[in-house]
C-alpha cells in the first residue's frame, strides 16, 4: 500500500511539474501601459480591447510558432492615467509580471516618460498611438500610428496638390502637443507648396466658444479651414461655423474620428475630410470582421485606438516569427524586416527610426456616414 501511494505521489508530482512547465514556458506576455481611468481613459480602454481581440484570434488559431515552440499570447495592461508621474510605476509593474514586450504607452507624454527605462532594459517597445516624435527616439522603440508632423504634411499635400487649395485658415489648440505638432508641420508644408496660411487662430483645451476665431477667419479670403484637434472641439467649431452661415470646407486630423457621434446635426460636418488610419464603417472584409468581433465582445464600435492596439499585437506576432526567437534583441532586429497586414495599413512596415511606413487614408462624411475618400 505504501509503495502504491509513493508511486502515485511521484507520478502526480511529475505530472504537475510537466503541466506547469508546459503552461509557464509557452506564454508570451505583452505588457500594456495606458490610461484606463482619468480623462484619456477611452484611448487606453480602446487599445486594450483592440489588442484583446487580436490575442483571442491568434490564440484561437493556435498561437504563435517560434522555432519548435508554440506560444500563447497574454496581455497584462496597467493603468497609467495618461500621466507622466504614474507611467513609470505602471511600466515597472508589467516588468515585475515578466513582460516580454511592451505595448505602450498609449499617450505621448507617458510614453516619453518610460522610453529611457525601456531602452535601459533593452526590451522591444511598440507604442500604438504615441504620436510625438520623441516617443521612438531610441532604437528599441517603434510606433504604429503616424507622427503628428507626418499627418500635418500629408494633409497639406492633399489640400494643395490634390484639391488645389491655396488660401487656408487654421484653428488649433495651443495647450495640446498633438494639435500644435500637426499645425507646425502643416503650415510649413503649405508654405513650401506655395500656399498661404491666411489665419492661424488659437484656442485652449475645454474652450467651447469659437466665434472669435471663426469671425476672424470669415474676414479673410480663406478657401478652407484646417482644424487639427479632437472631435469634441470639431463639434463646436463646425456647429458655430454653420450658425454663422460660413460654408467653407472643413479639414481635420485623426482626432476627428468620432465626430458624428457628438454633432447634433450631421449636416454641419457633411463633406469634411480628415486623415484617419481606420474607419469602422468601411465595407472591407477585414475591417468588417474586426468590427463585428469587437462589437460582439464589448458592445461598442472600435475606433482608431482599438485598431492601433489590434495592429500592435499582430506586429509582435510578425516580429516573433521573423526573429525565430523571443529574445528582446532579436525581436528589435526583426522589426525592420517585417510586413504586417493590419487594420490601419496593409502592409505596414517599419523603418530604422521606428516609424511606420503605410499609406495615409482620408475619410470624409457623406450622407451622414464615414467613407474613405476615393
Amino acid at each position: 500500500m505504501k509503495k502504491v501511494l509513493k508511486t502515485a505521489g511521484i507520478a502526480c508530482t511529475i505530472a504537475m511539474l510537466a503541466s506547469s512547465v508546459a503552461s509557464a514556458a509557452d506564454t508570451f506576455l505583452i505588457g500594456g501601459v495606458g490610461p484606463l481611468t482619468g480623462a484619456a481613459a477611452s484611448y487606453g480602454v480602446s487599445v486594450k480591447q483592440g489588442a484583446e481581440i487580436a490575442i483571442e484570434e491568434i490564440n484561437a488559431a493556435g498561437g504563435v510558432t517560434v522555432g519548435d515552440t508554440t506560444y500563447e499570447l497574454a496581455l497584462q495592461f496597467e493603468d497609467d492615467q495618461a500621466s507622466e508621474d504614474i507611467a513609470p510605476q505602471a511600466y515597472n509593474a508589467v516588468m515585475d509580471a515578466g513582460a516580454n514586450v511592451i505595448m505602450g504607452a498609449v499617450t505621448s507624454g507617458a510614453c516619453i516618460a518610460i522610453t529611457a527605462q525601456t531602452y535601459a532594459d533593452g526590451i522591444l517597445q511598440v507604442t500604438p498611438s504615441g504620436s510625438a516624435e520623441a516617443c521612438i527616439e531610441n532604437d528599441n522603440a517603434f510606433r504604429i500610428c503616424f507622427s503628428d508632423p507626418e499627418q500635418g504634411v500629408a494633409m497639406a499635400d492633399y489640400m494643395t496638390d490634390t484639391l488645389g487649395l491655396t488660401k487656408i485658415a487654421v484653428i488649433y489648440n495651443t495647450a495640446d502637443e498633438y494639435s500644435t505638432g500637426i499645425r507646425e508641420a502643416f503650415e510649413a508644408e503649405v508654405a513650401e507648396k506655395g500656399g498661404e496660411i491666411v489665419a492661424s487662430e488659437a484656442f485652449q483645451t475645454n474652450d467651447t466658444d469659437f466665434n472669435a476665431q471663426l469671425t476672424t477667419i470669415n474676414g479673410t479670403d480663406a478657401e478652407a479651414i484646417y482644424v487639427p484637434a479632437y472631435y469634441q472641439d470639431a463639434t463646436y467649431i463646425t456647429k458655430q461655423a454653420s450658425d454663422m452661415g460660413m460654408s467653407l470646407p472643413f479639414f481635420g486630423s485623426d482626432g476627428w474620428d468620432g465626430v458624428l457621434g457628438t454633432v447634433t446635426d450631421p449636416a454641419t460636418v457633411e463633406g469634411c475630410i480628415f486623415t484617419s488610419p481606420f474607419c469602422a464603417s468601411v465595407d472591407d472584409e477585414k475591417t468588417v470582421a474586426f468590427v463585428e468581433a469587437y462589437k460582439a465582445a464589448y458592445d461598442a464600435t472600435p475606433d482608431q485606438f482599438a485598431a492601433d492596439g489590434y495592429d500592435c499585437v499582430y506586429t509582435f506576432k510578425a516580429a516573433m516569427e521573423q526573429a525565430g526567437s523571443i529574445e528582446s534583441a532579436d525581436l528589435i532586429a526583426a522589426m525592420t524586416e517585417i510586413s504586417v497586414s493590419g487594420q490601419t495599413g496593409d502592409p505596414i512596415t517599419f523603418d530604422a527610426s521606428g516609424a511606420p511606413i503605410k499609406d495615409v487614408k482620408f475619410v470624409t462624411v457623406k450622407d451622414g456616414a464615414y467613407t474613405f475618400v476615393e
Binding site: 493603468d79 507622466e84 509593474a93 515585475d96 495647450a175
Partner: protein, 317 residues
C-alpha cells in the same frame, strides 16, 4: 538627556529607514514597481511637509503649491540640461529651483497674503493657472504643451541618498522652525489674528516668511520630480496636483508633521498597491480616502489619542 530624547529617537528612526531602504534596494528584495515609488514618496513628503507649514501652522489655505513646484522643476531642469557634471548640476539645480520658487513666492505673497481664508485660496488658484499658461506659451524655453524633454535622470532610486538627505533637511527645518520663536508667532497668527497683531507680531512679515519658505521647499521638490520623470508638462502642475498635496496635509491632521509624512507615504503607495483590483482601483482608492478621513474625525481616534496622552502624562509623573 531628557531634552534631547526626541531628537535622538528621530535620528535613529531616520538612519533606520535609510538603512532599510538601502538593504531592500541593493539586496533585490523590492519589486521594480516599489523601487520606482521610492523617489515619488520622498518628493511627496517634502511637498506635504512644506504645505503643512502654510496650511497647518500658518492656517492659510494655499492652492498654488503645484505652481511653485513647477517653477522649481522647470528652472532646475534647465540647469540639469545645461551639461554640467551631475555632481555639480544636481545641488545647483535644487538650489536654483528652490530660489526661483521662493522669489516668485515673495512676489505673489506680498500682495496676495493681505487676503485671508477663501479669498487667499482662490487667488493662489488663479496664480497657479497663470503659471501654467506661461509655461504653455513660452515654447522656446519650456517646450510648450509638448513639454520639456530629455532631462537627465539624476534623481532615480539610485540617487536615493541625495533625495533622502534633502527630505530630512526639509523635515528638520520645518519641525524646528515651528518650535522656534518665529514658529510660535506663526501659530499665534493662525489662532487669533487680531490678538497676534495687538501684541506686536508683524503679521504680514511672518505670513510672507512662511509662504516663501514653503515655496522654496516646493521648488526643490519640483527639481526632484524633474530628475525622476525626465519630462515636464504644464498640465501636470494644475490645481489637481495642488489638491493632492493638500489632501495629504489634511489627512495627516492639520499642523501635524508626522501625520503629513505618513499620509504622503500612504497616498503615494496605496494606488500602486491596489493595482491588483484593475478596474476598481481608483474607486477603491477613493473609498479608502473617505474612510481614512472619517477615521481621522471619529470618536474612536479621539479615544486612542486621549489614551496615548494619558499614558504619556502617566510616564512624566
Amino acid at each position: 538627556m531628557k531634552k534631547y530624547g526626541k531628537q535622538i529617537i528621530g535620528c535613529v528612526a531616520a538612519a533606520a529607514v535609510y538603512a532599510a531602504v538601502m538593504i531592500l534596494v541593493n539586496g533585490g528584495f523590492l519589486s521594480r514597481q516599489m523601487m520606482s515609488l521610492i523617489i515619488p514618496v520622498c518628493m511627496n513628503i517634502i511637498l506635504a511637509v512644506s504645505l503643512c507649514m502654510v496650511v497647518g501652522f500658518l492656517g492659510e489655505l494655499s492652492l498654488g503649491h503645484a505652481a511653485f513646484m513647477s517653477i522649481g522643476a522647470y528652472s532646475g531642469a534647465l540647469i540639469l540640461k545645461s551639461g554640467l557634471p551631475t555632481v555639480a548640476a544636481l545641488p545647483l539645480a535644487v538650489l536654483v529651483g528652490g530660489v526661483c520658487a521662493a522669489l516668485l513666492g515673495l512676489l505673489v505673497g506680498i500682495p496676495v497674503l493681505r487676503l485671508r481664508g477663501d479669498y487667499l485660496a482662490i487667488t493662489t488658484l488663479g496664480f497657479g493657472e497663470i503659471i501654467k499658461s506661461v509655461f504653455n506659451a513660452a515654447t522656446p524655453v519650456t517646450g510648450g504643451a509638448g513639454g520639456l524633454k530629455k532631462i537627465p535622470p539624476v534623481t532615480t532610486y539610485r540617487n536615493f541618498t541625495f533625495v533622502y538627505i534633502l527630505m530630512l533637511l526639509v523635515i528638520l527645518l520645518v519641525s524646528n522652525l515651528v518650535k522656534s520663536r518665529h514658529g510660535r508667532a506663526i501659530c499665534a497668527i493662525r489662532d487669533n489674528y487680531i490678538a497676534a497683531e495687538a501684541i506686536g507680531i508683524k503679521v504680514s512679515f511672518f505670513k510672507t516668511m512662511a509662504f516663501v519658505i514653503a515655496a522654496f521647499m516646493a521648488g526643490m521638490a519640483g527639481v526632484v520630480y524633474a530628475g525622476n520623470i525626465g519630462i515636464l508638462k504644464p498640465v501636470n502642475f494644475d490645481y489637481n496636483t495642488s489638491i493632492e498635496i493638500l489632501v495629504m496635509v489634511v489627512l495627516g491632521g492639520m499642523g501635524n508633521i508626522t501625520g503629513s509624512i505618513i499620509a504622503a507615504f500612504l497616498l503615494t503607495v496605496l494606488p500602486e498597491m491596489l493595482r491588483g483590483l484593475s478596474n476598481y482601483r481608483m474607486l477603491v482608492y477613493a473609498i479608502a480616502l473617505i474612510a481614512m478621513m472619517l477615521f481621522n474625525n471619529s470618536p474612536l481616534k479621539r479615544m486612542l489619542v486621549e489614551k496615548h496622552n494619558m499614558r504619556q502624562a502617566g510616564k512624566i509623573e
